[in-house]
């Protein structure tokens, strides 16, 4: 791995690892139980520059790039994927703003996002499985007073904790989801309500709720990018989400593999450690192999982002691979630990519950395939 990472990227990963050990490990189990948003911890993440990770220095960001982002997310996820989720979703909003924001918009939001004063969220989902089309349940209409948003966004991560939301809305009901635009909505916007927190089986600590828009009026300055940029913003932010969640998935899986391997060495059955059994070795070997290959795909996709090159197809491939493989990583490592892997006083059940949430996000099941196929068949 060190051939592919610069010294700085390795050191950043190490810092994230040390942070995870010192601040996340002690609270991970309790956070999973209470699912209460860890505000102080997020402030601490900000103090270590994690919230402004890839943002430009002129806005107070660390400009560390996306390979570094992958390192950070993976290492934090080893200890608490729930906390990593908060960072991932904040990063999606930060990315969209940095990529498509006007100088005024960037100045208005990026410094606070970098310093952690403001937590961001990206509101993309809607209720009902999306067969590959854009938003419809939230519509934005342009009226004399500005843009008026009405409807609901679903399963918004960081909802309630965020101060700014980047929201995808439909701009033409007749277009069946093909007309989409992105808006910047502050949490104190009149008419915006955060719904009841949703119980998730994993990634707990990262709040999830619906956002209701009741005639929320926004000025033209709230439009992110041009009207025609909506599809690109959607696709590219989803692509970044794929990369970030891949890092999360791999962090969780790595923690699971290491725990299961350590367990296998000490668990004696039939007079010897189960680590000596080929069946166990196979389960671990296959898991480690998938992690390794996934990690290479992740680094390459992140590196493309760093170079400013198109990365949507590679991100989609990464998502596809991990969606296929992802939960199996925990299905197999739990299997190594048998009954102990199923008992909530051990760590693997939490990792099992977490990883089911990192491989499915942000796009419907068929989305990655469509992107990849389009690149081959266009």
């Amino acid at each position: 791995m060190s051939i592919l990472l610069t010294e700085e990227q390795q050191l950043i990963g190490q810092s994230a690892r040390d942070f995870a050990k010192e601040y996340l490990e002690p609270i991970a189990v309790e956070l999973d139980h209470t699912a209460s948003y860890p505000a102080a911890l997020v402030k601490n993440l900000a103090a270590h520059d994690f919230l402004g990770l890839f943002l430009p220095g002129e806005f107070g960001g660390a400009e560390a790039g996306f390979v570094s982002m992958a390192q950070v997310i993976e290492n934090l996820s080893r200890a608490s994927a729930g906390v990593a989720s908060i960072l991932v979703n904040h990063s999606l909003a930060a990315y969209a703003l940095q990529r498509w924001g006007t100088p005024a918009q960037k100045q208005a939001f990026l410094p606070a996002l970098a310093s952690g004063e403001t937590l961001g969220a990206f509101a993309a989902f809607e209720h009902g499985p999306r067969p590959g089309v854009g938003p419809q349940a939230l519509q934005a209409t342009h009226l004399p007073e500005g843009w008026v948003l009405s409807g609901t966004k679903a399963f918004v991560r960081n909802a309630g904790a965020a101060q700014v939301y980047v929201v995808l809305a439909g701009t033409d009901p007749a277009a069946g989801g093909k007309a989409v635009a992105a808006f910047i909505v502050k949490a104190d916007a009149v008419g915006l309500t955060v719904g009841e927190p949703l119980e998730t089986m994993g990634l707990r600590g990262c709040p999830v709720a619906d956002l209701d828009f009741e005639h929320v009026v926004l000025t033209d300055a709230a439009l992110l990018g041009d009207l025609k940029d909506g599809q690109a913003i959607t696709a590219e932010t989803f692509a970044l989400a794929s990369v970030a969640e891949a890092a999360q998935t791999l962090g969780i899986a790595q923690a699971a593999v290491e725990h299961a391997a350590a367990y296998a060495k000490t668990r004696i059955q039939f007079g010897r450690p189960i680590a000596s059994l080929q069946a166990i070795q196979t389960l671990l070997a296959e898991t480690a192999t998938d992690c390794h290959l996934g990690r290479l795909g992740l680094l390459q996709a992140a590196d493309l982002i760093d170079r400013g090159e198109p990365f949507r197809v590679e991100a989609a491939m990464l998502k596809q691979f991990l969606a296929r493989v992802g939960s199996r990583l925990l299905v197999d490592t739990v299997q190594v630990e048998g009954g102990f892997g199923y008992s909530e006083f051990m760590p693997l059940p939490r990792l099992f519950r977490d990883i089911a949430g990192t491989t499915l996000l942000e796009a419907p099941a068929d989305f990655p395939d469509a992107t990849i196929a389009a690149s081959l068949l266009a």
């Binding site: 700085e8 050191l11 950043i12 190490q14 010192e22």
Partner: protein
Amino acid sequence: MPKLLVCYKWVLDEQDIKIRPDDLSLDASRAKGKLSDFDRNAIEEASLIMEAQGGTVDALTYGLPTVKASVKDVLSRGPSRLLWIGDPAADQADAYVIANVLAAAIRKAGPYDLILCGEGSSDLFYQQIPARLAALLELPCVSFVQKLTLEGPVLTATRSLGDGTEEVRVTGPAVVSVLGEINKPRIPSLKQVLGASKKPSEELPLAGLGLTEAELEPKALRRAPRGFLMNRKNIIYKDADPAANVGKLVASLEAEGLRG
């Protein structure tokens, strides 16, 4: 505005070292380098003083040429400048040689108001370097430091003596060696990591330090280290009569040659 120096060692991460079961030799092929534990505290302490009082912190190290890999790691933890001496014979060096080299470098790059070291390194834990440096540089030496304040040239230190503490006051310059409990090293932020490459670092060639052949000749020879494996015998003496159990235990200890 004090001018501080921290000496550090780049060691193999013991977590990655495996003991070969057949001959108990060490397999360090997968071991990565890391900053020696107490040196991390020394660097942190120097950085804290600089943050409070201004001035500069130089970091200094002597090791194999691969010690170059430590530069950014150390600079991300606060020091203003890093000086490193790479020498293929460094892994044969004993405390005598190491202290000679460091002292020569300090004479060249100094003078310093305060020289900080870790109490001992994570790998060999000689605990000799600070005292030898102090002797070579004709400076006072304060060891086992768990708390430190610097006011002007006056250094106040609390030393940990196992069953108690001792407070000493010294007028600097001085050499100080610190324990792990002196501080909790902060985790470098991303900006600190990225800022490391912008700070100056310089290789000091060994040849340019003016040391004689004798001063570079180790007086102590270190042979191949052997690992230690705990082997449990898993024998329980469960006689109903405790005296019988004791007798059996004593007999097996004798058989192991443990009673003499």
